[in-house]
Symmetry: C2
Subunit: 264 residues, 2 copies
């Protein structure tokens, strides 16, 4: 049992990260609070990226966007500080990873715009509550992710394929998963595809482009959701001079409740 | 163009059937009004059949059940008369079809209980409004139906397999169809299965047990819904001395609006 499992609220998790006590993955911490992907871009690229997210809401569901220079996402976490409250960050220059700090205060600029993007943890928690099994969690692996043959709608320098995550499910569970995840449009929502991977350009389920391999059994269908790796892949391909993201699995824990994000 | 296409309301359709002017299928008549399957049973079998429907709501969604002897479904059509308002009936004795009259007034008994059971026309209309194609309608065929290897929950003399209808859909349309039909639990609701027919005991999609053949294209999945033929098959197998049903396609047109049956 990790000594951080007392972190029951979003504010507790953010506080521990801020003090440097938490530098590892946030999965399972502050249950019930929505966790989020982070993208920080200089203002000159932020307008195009905002447009990209607006045009591709399934892979890029925006929970909050800050004003330039403001480190606090006023809607998602009014007491949060995006410079310090994530356990670990990644700093990218011209598409190359250059650092993985636990704090980005020393890099902060007045022209930074931060994008807080919904994450599949929220709908996975909803699936588990409904007894729909989530295999990669059972196996202790990362979800397998695949580039598809479906282009996102481009915006300025940002363009690229839709990336999807795959979860194998028995047919009745796949139907239930469509129903459940449809309630969470701000965390990728309903699946975009199921059952016929070659139709979206995926020819080998045993070779994901990102994440780990998760087998699909004979009585299961592969079910595909739009994935938050899409905007990251698009940004890396665009190679802006500077971008800062969360480190994989080291998410920003918001004050938004998972159930607050449910519609209907 | 049929000379009955002026029948725009449920009451008009029922009136035309009552006067003997309408003796054919009701598909497409009174658009927006929910059409229903009819089962009429003597009271001694009605209690078990009611229990069967309660235990199997997906194949047997009850829109209304009359009191014994009452020919009017008070909820579904307060001005309706189930003895006269269907274009054509089927009379079964000990499991054998013995007559197909256009009126059952002469057969009516004080101990008859009538079951008004939701029909897939309502959710098919919703699919078409959302531009989800319904192949058997495009082809002018009856929907293909299959007995599955899944037993219904038994009640008294009534037991038998779940019967499903099959509609081929592209994966994205299948996902949309789950969302749309989930809104209509009283007309079979969400699919019960998709994509792997052998898992539910269907080995040859080109040989339906009822209805017509509808091919599944390479870029499509077979999607299966619980079917209103289930209770009919169960009753026929139980061979009660007397049961009266609608004739295939000659439905009871209720005053309930399709949209009134939608949840959420």
């Amino acid at each position: 049992m990790r000594d951080i499992e007392h972190l029951q609220t979003a504010a507790q998790v953010r506080g521990a990260a801020r003090k440097g006590e938490l530098t590892e993955q946030t999965s399972g911490l502050a249950p019930g609070f929505a966790q989020a992907n982070l993208v920080v871009l200089p203002r000159e690229f932020a307008a195009d990226f905002l447009l990209f997210c607006q045009r591709n809401p399934k892979p890029c569901p925006l929970l909050d966007v800050t004003s330039a220079g403001d480190p606090t996402p006023r809607r998602a976490a009014p007491t949060g500080d995006l410079r310090t409250d994530l356990p670990r960050y990644r700093v990218w220059e011209h598409g190359q990873l250059v650092d993985e700090p636990t704090d980005i205060s020393h890099l902060w600029r007045d022209d930074f715009v931060s994008f807080v993007i919904g994450c599949s943890f929220t709908f996975e928690a909803a699936l588990l509550r409904a007894a729909v099994p989530v295999r990669h969690i059972e196996l202790g692996r990362n979800v397998p992710m695949f580039k598809t043959n479906r282009p996102c709608a481009a915006a300025g320098i940002f363009h690229g394929p839709l990336v999807v995550s795959m979860r194998p499910l028995k047919p009745a569970d796949a139907i239930r998963a469509v129903q459940i995840t449809s309630r969470y449009p701000s965390v990728h929502g309903a699946p975009v595809h199921l059952g016929l991977p070659e139709q979206i350009g995926i020819t080998d389920l045993s070779r994901p482009d990102f994440g780990d391999v998760v087998p699909v059994e004979a009585d299961e269908l592969p079910v595909f959701w739009a994935c938050g790796v899409t905007p990251q892949a698009v940004i890396m391909a665009a190679k802006p001079p500077l971008v800062i993201t969360h480190s994989p699995g080291c998410m920003f824990v918001t004050d938004l409740l998972d159930e607050e994000l449910a519609v209907g």
